[in-house]
């Protein structure tokens, strides 16, 4: 089973764009005073870079094994966030990221060993053979697409930056957060790309 190299490259470009944008958010947040959820933005940067590397081998930054450790750490972080917030209120947002980490780990474990860099062909072309059971990537893909739909559903209830600014003018002059809607768009982009990669694993 082979993926379309141009399609893998297209998704890789989207992922690089997402990672770049989230990196910019982090930079703006650190340099300026505009808050953002740094852990989530950082997560999008990591996911974007990793997936781009899996889609196009030439873009791979780290050797096999290191990304697994990073995403395992991210999974622990989001588990901690969920546990910490469990007493107060349900945070589906963090569950979504935990699921993303699990999917990344799954793909790294079953994709990366086979997806050795090859000239001119997408790494995605090697997917599938290592997966123990094609039902697992399918279930992960469906769950991630569910998260994408959930995020898109709530998009219209997330305030625009202009509304946040208007709100700030009435209260104390607190810093205006970076656009939560664009953060949600990054969520959707990474979710769809991950769904595509998992479906490509089906034998």
């Amino acid at each position: 089973m082979t993926g379309q190299p141009w399609l893998a490259a297209t998704f890789a470009v989207v992922m690089i764009g997402t990672a770049g944008y989230c990196l910019t958010r982090l930079a703006v947040s650190w340099r300026g005073s505009r808050p953002t959820d740094r852990q989530v933005d950082g997560m999008h940067v990591l996911m974007g870079v990793t997936m781009a590397g899996m889609l196009v081998p030439q873009l791979r930054l780290l050797s096999a094994g290191r990304w697994e450790i990073i995403f395992a750490a991210c999974a622990v972080l989001f588990m901690y966030r969920i546990a910490r917030a469990a007493a107060s209120r349900w945070r589906s947002h963090d569950v979504q990221h935990l699921l993303g980490c699990a999917a990344m780990l799954y793909m790294l474990v079953f994709l990366a060993p086979l997806a050795a860099p090859r000239t001119g062909s997408a790494a995605i072309s090697m997917l599938g053979a290592a997966a123990p059971d094609s039902a697992v990537p399918l279930m992960l893909a469906v769950a991630l697409l569910g998260c994408v739909v959930w995020t898109a559903d709530r998009m219209s209830s997330i305030a625009r930056v202009a509304q946040l600014t208007a709100g700030q003018s009435r209260v104390a002059a607190a810093p205006v957060p970076l656009s939560p809607r664009l953060s949600a768009c990054c969520e959707i982009a990474t979710g769809v790309t991950m769904g595509y990669m998992l479906i490509t694993m089906l034998t």
Binding site: H93, D133, V148, D153, L202, T203
Partner: protein, 336 residues
């Protein structure tokens, strides 16, 4: 700082209630919306399945073209024409198909575009039902409830009609009746399940070894566990195919007329419909989605979703939905 943004992401509490425009207040989820979101997930799944490598080959177009066989010329000619066109431009056409399905899924999920996306999904479903599924093989004598009749894609269109957002203040007992009303919704149910019952008695299903051959044919590229299940099912039916088809027709017929039962008796019928959908899905080999060559999960999940759309929530659920719909300004399923 982090929690402040997380809050903004979640529900915009950064904006004081007085400053926030009404549109930013999150709408409480109701049953109709929940089902719309499930439909959106299915469209997105279809989109990523359409991105599979095999779809970009001329073989995909030939599969579409094969649905023309046995159909009347007036139906077959446009199918053959579109299959030729897709074969000549396989990559562009398939990328376009996947993109359309992706946009429909996201459009249904994003509230401001839901009506446009549902409308587009109806048009798309009708087009694909004809040009991609040969009208579900209804006119060439090979349609069977066990092989995906009346065509998965037409069920997407039907669900779009049934789950169309209800008018403000419109109150119905179940989601499927939200916009079109209870009587038309029941009639559509009767036609669909009654039609499936009729197809179960047609030779394509009721011939002695038809069901077992059909199910055995699904298990080719399936994972071992699913091939084993389908293989055993096929062996079981190989000697009792005709009886099984009659039993299936009776079951589907009961489901069809059961929608007219009063509320307490209707629930078991809907539960039976969900079970029947699950059984048909197994017989369909889960629509071939685990083979790397499936374009959609076939009719099983859609029939189950349809049954849930006719499910009347219990009283406390209805009251909660009603309160949610009132609080959000969104019209949803409330009470009978």
């Amino acid at each position: 700082m982090t929690s402040q943004v997380a809050d903004a992401w979640r529900r915009t509490p950064v904006v004081p209630a007085a400053a926030a425009p009404a549109a930013t207040v999150p709408a409480a989820p109701d049953m109709t919306r929940g089902l719309q979101l499930v439909l959106a997930v299915l469209w997105l799944l279809d989109a990523v399945l359409q991105f599979q490598a095999v779809m970009f080959t001329p073989g995909f177009a030939r599969t579409l073209g094969a649905t023309a066989h046995g159909n009347p010329a007036v139906i077959a000619a446009p199918i053959a024409w579109s299959a030729r066109l897709i074969e000549q431009h396989a990559v562009v056409a398939d990328a376009g198909f996947a993109a359309i399905q992706l946009l429909i899924g996201l459009g249904i999920a994003w509230r401001p575009t839901i009506k446009v996306a549902l409308g587009a999904s109806i048009a798309w479903s009708l087009g694909v039902w004809w040009l991609g599924e040969g009208l579900g093989s209804l006119f060439n004598g090979t349609a069977s409830p066990a092989n995906g009749a009346p065509g998965a894609v037409i069920l997407y269109g039907l669900l779009a009609v049934l789950l169309w957002p209800p008018r403000a203040g419109q109150r119905t007992s179940y989601a499927a009746a939200g916009r079109i009303g209870a009587q038309p919704a029941r009639l559509l149910w009767l036609v669909l399940w009654g039609g499936l019952a009729g197809l179960a008695l047609a030779p394509a299903t009721a011939a002695p070894r038809a069901l077992s051959t059909m199910i055995a044919g699904m298990s080719g590229a399936e994972p071992a566990w699913l091939a084993r299940i389908d293989g055993q099912l096929a062996r079981l039916l190989s000697h009792h195919g005709g009886t099984a088809a009659v039993a299936l027709a009776i079951l589907l017929g009961l489901i069809a007329v059961g929608i007219y039962l009063p509320e307490p008796a209707r629930r078991p019928v809907l539960a039976l419909a969900i079970l029947a959908a699950a059984g048909l899905w197994l017989a369909e080999g889960l629509g071939g989605i685990l083979t790397g060559a499936g374009t959609d999960p076939n009719t099983g999940p859609l029939l189950a979703l349809l049954a849930i759309a006719y499910w009347t929530p219990s009283r406390p659920d209805r009251e909660a939905a009603s309160a949610g719909a009132t609080g959000s300004g969104a019209a949803g399923v409330s009470r009978a």
